[in-house]
Structures are given as structure tokens and as C-alpha cells.
Symmetry: C2
């Protein structure tokens, strides 16, 4: 068993591993998991595809070979929630490119460090203040960034548009505690 | 308990439901699940974000209010795998718009009807032949479409580029049978 966190087919290199196994004649079975971008958003009460605010969701890694990075202009134009994996080290470029591509500076951003672990931290900020917020709170990898209107997160049933931006995040109105395996 | 298939925060309206619960003062807990687009791809051996072929993955619904549909030009420009939910009824428009936006007509498309159910069917085709293939195989909702190079799917460890396009799909080199709960 090759056990991973997250999902093996979303930035998990599962594709390369089944290629190698198949070449060696080894049968395998792939079991899906909860990818960290989804888990992080849920822990903060953020519905990635709330239909009043997003046409869908994009999971993208900021970690790419030089010249092969994402087309941030296309992503900014998509009107979808953007979930960036491995983006802390490249946050300044992400911020610069998305603002340059026309995404409003006031776009909410949720940053979750160590998603779903006991030492998880959540920061809510705006695209304009993203790198400052990462520095101020000393956010390090692993962390995911959820960029878009849904990142305002919920509290007390307020519609998203009514929720003020501040740091750190308020506790959401619902629990995301893990389910005990034994009752 | 409000039990759903898939994930409540990816086209599951979980956001609207927690808003309603919070307004009524009812605490709740959100448990993530495996969204059908991911499950369908995995069942066919398709790694959504294989780093040789995609910068990431987009989950998008084709079902939207008039004039509020996805920006297919932006999605086509993104160089990412595109997973379309609820797209059968609008397949002709999706096909037309993505080709018009510059996506090659030869782009592989995987269609999975009734993903993960015993009556699941998988069809592999190209963007150019998409609507013809749906008609020929009488594909109906619910179905998801995975659009991009990764949709060639795996067999016998061949690199994606070597796999010919045909219908119906070959059985992948690994099993995606459900795990028995009791051994």
C-alpha cells in the first residue's frame, strides 16, 4: 500500500505511479481521498462552488517548471474559485499576476496552513494584502490559498456579501471536527 | 443527517444549506466526499492533474442561468483538465464553444455515465466527435465529461501520447473495484 494524504489523482503523482506499476506488470487499485484544497475550504466553512458566487472551482499548483506555470490571465477571467496548492513561496507572483490579469484587489483570499491537522491555521485576507498577511502571520508550507468571493467564509448565517474582511478568521458557525471512528 | 452523493461543497449546494441552518440557529457539521468528476476519472484510470499534461483541474457545471454560463474561452486557454458536470444536455454548446475558443478538435474526452454505480458506462472520444458519440451510445444524465490530454486514460503502462483513441474504452490496467467493507 502506498498511502498518501489528499487524493492521488489531484497533485498526487498517482498517474506516474500507475504508469510505473503497469510497466512492471503489477496490478493496483486507486482509492480516492479528500484533496487538501477541499478539506481546507471546508474547515473554514467555504463552499467552493456556491452558485451565487462561482461557476466552478479550479485546483492549480503554483509549483511548475519555469515558463510552464499556469495562465493566470485565463484563470482570472474564468469567474471561478481558484484554489492554489504549494503557493506560499510564489505568493507574490500569484498576487501580482492575478491583479495584473484583472482580478479585483479586494478579492477575498483564505489561506489555510497545515489543513486538517491539529496545528492548522486559517487567515482571511484580500488579494491586495496577501503577501503582507502571509508575512505578518509567518505562514509556511504546506498551505493552500482559496481565492474568490466564497473565501469570505460563513459566520452566523450571514450572506457572503455582508461579512467584513478581517484577520484572523472568526470561528465558523458549524463544526468541522473529525468524526470519531467509534461512538 | 442530510446525506448526499459526491461532495456537499462541489456543486452540492452545501453552502446554501449551511446558510439556512445557521439562520435557524441549528449547528451542523460538514463532511467531505468524493465528487463525481473525480470518481468518474479514477474509475477510468484518468489522473486529472498528471503533471506532464495539465497544470491543474477545473470542475465546472454546464448548467447555469442564461447569460451566466462559464467563460469557455478562459477555460480553453487555461491548459488544464476540464471536468464538466451536468453537461449532456448542453454538450453541443460545450463542444462548439471550446472548439471556437481554440481547443484542438482532437482533444480527448472521457464521458462517464452513472459514475461509480453498477450501471456505469465509459465512452472515450474526441472533442470533435463528442455529440455524435453521445448520440451513438445514447448517453443520458447523470454523466460527467473529462476534457483534456489526460482523458486518453491508461492501459498497460503506455505513456498517454501512445494510446490510440477509440470507443468504447479499454479496461484500465488497474482495478477500481470498490473496497469490501468486510474482508
Amino acid at each position: 500500500v502506498r498511502l498518501k494524504g489528499g487524493d492521488p489523482f489531484i497533485f498526487g503523482r498517482g498517474g506516474e505511479e500507475i504508469e510505473a506499476l503497469a510497466r512492471s506488470g503489477i496490478e493496483c487499485e486507486v482509492v480516492n481521498g479528500i484533496t487538501s484544497g477541499l478539506a481546507a475550504a471546508t474547515a473554514a466553512g467555504v463552499p467552493l462552488t456556491h452558485r451565487s458566487h462561482a461557476q466552478g472551482v479550479i485546483f492549480v499548483t503554483a509549483h511548475a517548471a519555469p515558463g510552464r506555470g499556469p495562465d493566470w490571465h485565463a484563470l482570472a477571467a474564468s469567474r471561478m474559485t481558484i484554489v492554489v496548492y504549494m503557493g506560499v513561496a510564489r505568493a507574490q507572483a500569484v498576487q501580482h499576476d492575478l491583479i495584473g490579469a484583472g482580478l479585483p484587489r479586494s478579492t477575498p483570499v483564505l489561506v489555510v496552513e497545515n489543513a486538517t491537522l491539529v496545528r492548522e491555521r486559517q487567515i482571511r485576507t484580500t488579494l491586495e494584502r496577501l503577501t503582507d498577511a502571509l508575512t505578518a502571520h509567518d505562514i509556511a508550507s504546506p498551505a493552500v490559498m482559496v481565492i474568490g468571493e466564497v473565501a469570505r467564509a460563513y459566520s452566523a448565517g450571514e450572506p457572503l456579501a455582508n461579512i467584513p474582511m478581517n484577520e484572523p478568521m472568526p470561528v465558523p458557525a458549524f463544526s468541522t471536527a473529525p468524526i470519531p471512528l467509534h461512538s
